[in-house]
């Protein structure tokens, strides 16, 4: 009998980004799975080698919209690792605040999308409503909802105003009760238990073999967190817990992420309250030849950057490894034997970020805007005119 393949993707409502999964099924049961990626490949690594060290920060920021802090953070740490040098305490704190803000918004985003994938749109709406508050905080601190552009080799680009801090703390405090309610709603729902428990189990050994990272590995009992293992930023300054669970199923991955949000809020509040004084930028002039490695704990796991410099003002080789690149192949171990309905949520449970995985984009010296708003409006009008004519004919 010929095998039956059910496609998920490439353009599928499950995924914001295009990826093409082929599930080989028997009835509703998945017996095999394969994936074709590359729909998102932009060649960022090559581009990065055309840019200066400063400008590369902007390119890596555009590797992924959700990880737009992790990549610059890891990249700046890689560049700083070439000499090596330490940045000032204040900029460490600011970096930590931004990174943790990203973590909480990323986890909320995942939670909402997971709800959406399960058809539980109320969770989706509620989680994203909370996420808006965090985005507000980020907008206050950095001036933008995403792509914060806060990082540069040697420090941060923008300082935090003292008067903004109480507002931010208030906002963070304001979401905690709702977050608690959401936590209860999600973790105590019997239907969700039925849907998620025991589904897509990643065993401890598999987590090791696949070198799984971040919440994906922590849900399987592998206590692995760069913030603890090789501390950076301000993480050593305060007490916080690493959340580890045992079962490795989708439910545990959700538990890890939800509980982590509370830890993250704690860290953010500590950093905001105890922000030390000092310079925010070490003003690096020249970058000597050498190799640098930077790795940080992104919301999805360890982000790893490798930069090789030959003494010019451009990186000679820039390698980006996003957490999803390592987490993603675990689908092979987790999806087989599950049903199609479960396959989708299992795929979502590692919080995949294909843009990161397929990075290899290019940096562009000029920055981003090519046309100003007026041009675009004009062009838009012209197009609309054409379209009106077309529709008028109909």
């Amino acid at each position: 009998m010929g095998k039956t393949i059910i496609p998920i993707g490439p353009y599928h409502p499950l995924q914001e980004e295009p990826e093409f999964f082929t599930l080989t099924v028997e009835g509703e049961t998945v017996v095999d799975i394969d994936v074709r990626i590359g729909y998102n490949h932009r060649g960022i690594e090559k581009l990065s080698e055309m840019k200066t060290f400063e400008n590369s920060t902007f390119v890596v920021e555009r590797i992924c919209g959700i990880c737009s802090t992790s990549h610059p953070y890891a990249y700046t740490r890689a560049v700083e690792d070439i000499f090596p040098m330490e940045v000032s305490m204040r900029s460490k704190y600011i970096r930590t605040i931004i990174a943790e803000g990203e973590r909480i918004h990323s986890h909320l985003l995942w939670l909402g999308l997971a709800g959406h994938f399960l058809g539980y749109n109320t969770v989706y709406m509620w989680a994203w409503k909370l996420r808006e508050e965090i985005l507000d905080v980020m907008e206050i601190l950095s001036g933008n909802r995403n792509n914060y552009a806060m990082f540069k080799p040697g420090g941060v680009r923008r300082d935090i105003n003292a008067e903004d801090i109480p507002i931010c703390i208030k906002k963070i405090d304001s979401i905690l009760p709702t977050l608690n309610m959401l936590k209860k709603a999600v973790l105590d729902d019997p239907v969700l238990h039925a849907r998620l428990k025991g589904v897509g189990v990643l065993s401890y050994q598999d987590a090791i073999d696949f070198s799984a990272l971040g919440p994906t590995s922590r849900a399987s009992g592998v206590a692995r967190d760069v913030r603890k293992d090789s501390p950076y930023g301000a993480y050593q300054e305060m007490e916080w817990d690493m959340i580890v669970t045992k079962n490795g199923d989708v439910f545990d991955k959700a538990v890890v992420r939800i509980l982590e949000m509370f830890e993250t809020a704690k860290i953010m509040k500590y950093c905001l309250n105890n922000l030390p004084d000092g310079e925010i930028d070490a003003k690096i002039k020249d970058i000597p030849p050498g190799e640098g490695i930077g790795h940080i704990e992104a919301p999805r796991g360890e982000t790893f950057h490798y930069v090789k410099s030959d003494g010019t003002n451009r990186p000679m080789r820039h390698k980006v490894r996003a957490p999803t690149f390592m987490n993603f192949p675990t689908y092979k171990a987790t999806v087989k034997g599950q049903t199609i309905s479960d396959a989708t949520i299992i795929l979502a449970a590692i919080d995949p970020c294909y843009c990161c995985t397929e990075r290899i984009a290019v940096k562009d010296v000029k920055g981003r805007m090519l046309y100003d708003g007026q041009d675009l409006i004009r062009l838009s009008r012209e197009k609309t005119e054409k379209m009106k004519q077309r529709m008028g004919v109909r």
Partner: protein, 140 residues
Amino acid sequence: MSLKLKALLKSPWVFHLSTGSCNNCDIEILDCLTPRFDIERFGMLLIGSIKHADVLLVTGSCNRMSVERLKVLYEQVPKPCLVVAIGTCAGSRGIFKDSYNCPVPLDKIIPVDVYIPGCPPKPEAMIAGVVKLIEKVGGA
């Protein structure tokens, strides 16, 4: 203007197509659905099948894998259909212009009706863009 066209403007169902984006625009599109922005107020719905779509929201810089598939997909949309390029990448390929894997700009592949620039454009900007589109078409 016919009743059906008027109805189209009051109930544009959008289909989201990412052709190699950085996720940011895509997430902001989803954000438009959520309580703060709630585009269902304008009758907009994000739908899963391209055969139900009235508006294609294209994000990203159109890499080699996407080019052929984009043409096929555009064929599949029931007309009339509007195409909105969300973000700088879709509008002009942005910083990815020189990449080896982004050969052709979006509007050389399929006709684009509206460009919404920004990296990423804020949800407000997207809504404003689509509303402007509606006004333009509706003004005929």
